[in-house]
Amino acid sequence: MIEVRFHGRGGQGAVTAVRILASALYLEGKYTQAIPMYGTERRGAPVVAFLRIGESRINERDLVHNPDIVVVLDPLLSRTVPVTDGLKEGGLIVMNFPKPGNEAGIGGRFRLATVDATGIALEALGRPITNTAMLGAFAKASGLVSLESLEKTLLEQWPGRLGEMNLRALRTAYERVTPPVDVSGIQALGKRPQEEIFSRDVSSWRIFKPQLDEGRCVGCRRCYIYCPEVAISMTQGKARVDYSSCKGCGICGEECPTGAISMIQEVL
């Protein structure tokens, strides 16, 4: 039996991803379980979902504690969530990250494959929903499921144009994912989740960040009033963003009457 844990953020489609994967594997004659984990998860907040794959009937009914494979749908999640916890030695991590595996800040006796799923999703869907791209990357890096069964399941889930767009994300990621590299020699980087709770640094929730052009700011205070996170303050009649408190919702950019705020993609 092979066990997989998916890490994502609310809105990236981790739960849908395990369901599609379980259905695709079922088409190939496998026994599968897709397990969502429910809580008060909110869009942008960390979520997990699990998958079991067996050659025979699976009797386990609990959550996955020692996965063989971990899939990470978000590039910055590993800084705040212990994504490698319980991962078996020699296990595989498939991660959404725009750079090679040895630069992702993940270390330990694992193998790590990376793919720029955010970039691919933005290209294919116009929105940073990374689940289908990560399924393509998973198929290639793990070799556990064929692209054909994934494509079939995907089109059943979303017939029509949406399905076609997701197919594009799936195939592109399948082609672009890097071969897994050994990261046993790498020092793991990252904060404990505890620290995030106390410091309330939400910068890793962001995919886009507001960039302020001071020259165009007329000090109308709209962005300051509408920011849900109190991330904007006014100093000497100009707006200023505190990036550690900004989740990148984009309200300030949308509401600024002079176009002084533009939302630009975070570079990692």
Binding site: R221, P228, E229, S245, K247
Partner: protein, 297 residues
């Protein structure tokens, strides 16, 4: 009646800590921050189970109960306790979800209004039970898709009409009742400051769009809220001792279609259904205009 507060008069002091645990672009989070800014240093916040605690980082004493039908009783208790120790100057504030207000919390709400308890009840209305995944509530706009009114062969979304709790509260004789919207902070803050100066039962119902449950991009929270007001889907008015005043009265309302089409929960609507909503909105609006400036009962 209230006086709108211009943006440049809103104080710099924050009563909420930066960054919360709500979704990106949460309308309720903006409401709760603006409410605290309007009330200033002197309030106690009552809280019940809802999304509220996710955007709670408020620098004020808070009392929380898990049972979300309990807001009316909780606020009553706090208010009576404060009276006993001679601190009636402290505002007893509740920031309560629509489920905890118009449905399961309604008994406690209407009883508190009946007793004219000295409390300020702010309902942030995201039009469903969002904390538990978006089940429809009595505040959900008709025809909306929610997790309990999905779209399919046998269902076209929510069937029932909205419960109009602000008007119900006014009919119960509450000294001050108002609707507001997160897209109109000048109006919202004016109403809060006005309500702060009144003794007795005060009720403010604030439209607070929810990107997660309504299915739109988080950047559009204010746009959606504004569209609801401009189209008459969410009229802004206040009722002081029975006298109604419309606070936003354009020459012509925008068609509802535009704002409905921005939201995933209305994507299934046919032209005929949109027309039906338009008809209901127009009818309610003309009755409001008729009553404007006069007694509602």
């Amino acid at each position: 009646m209230s006086r709108p507060i211009p943006l440049h008069e809103i104080g710099e002091k924050e009563y909420i800590d930066p960054a919360n645990q709500a979704c990106q672009g949460c309308g309720g989070a903006i409401v709760s921050r603006l409410v605290s800014k309007a009330l200033g240093d002197c309030f106690v916040r009552a809280e019940v189970a809802c999304c509220g605690p996710a955007f709670m980082n408020i620098r004020a004493p808070s009392i929380y109960v898990e049972v979300f039908e309990g807001a009316g009783a909780l606020m009553t208790g706090i208010s009576r306790g404060l009276k006993r120790i001679g601190r009636e100057d402290v505002v007893v504030l509740g920031i309560i979800g629509d489920g905890g207000t118009v449905d399961i919390g309604y008994q406690g709400l209407s009883a508190a209004a009946e007793r004219n308890e000295n409390i300020l009840w702010v309902c942030y209305d995201n039009e469903a039970y969002m904390n538990t995944g978006g089940q429809k509530s009595g505040a959900t706009t008709p025809y909306a898709a929610t997790t309990t009114t999905p779209i399919g062969e046998y269902s076209r979304g929510k069937l029932e009409r909205r419960k109009n709790v602000p008007l119900l509260m006014a009919m119960q004789g509450a000294p001050y009742v108002a609707t507001a919207s997160v897209a109109y902070p000048e109006d919202l803050l004016g109403k809060l400051v006005h309500a702060k100066g009144i003794k007795g039962f005060r009720y403010i119902h604030v439209s607070s769009p929810c990107p997660t449950g309504w299915g739109y991009d988080p950047k559009d929270t204010i746009k959606v809220a504004r569209g609801m007001v401009q189209s008459g889907l969410w009229p802004l008015y206040e009722v002081s001792n029975g006298i109604l005043k419309l606070n936003y009265k354009p020459k012509e309302l925008k068609p509802v279609r535009e704002v409905l089409k921005m939201q995933g929960r209305f994507r299934h609507l046919t032209d005929e259904e949109v027309d039906r909503i338009q008809g209901e909105v127009d009818a309610f609006w003309s009755r409001l205009v008729e009553k404007d400036g006069g007694n509602i009962f």
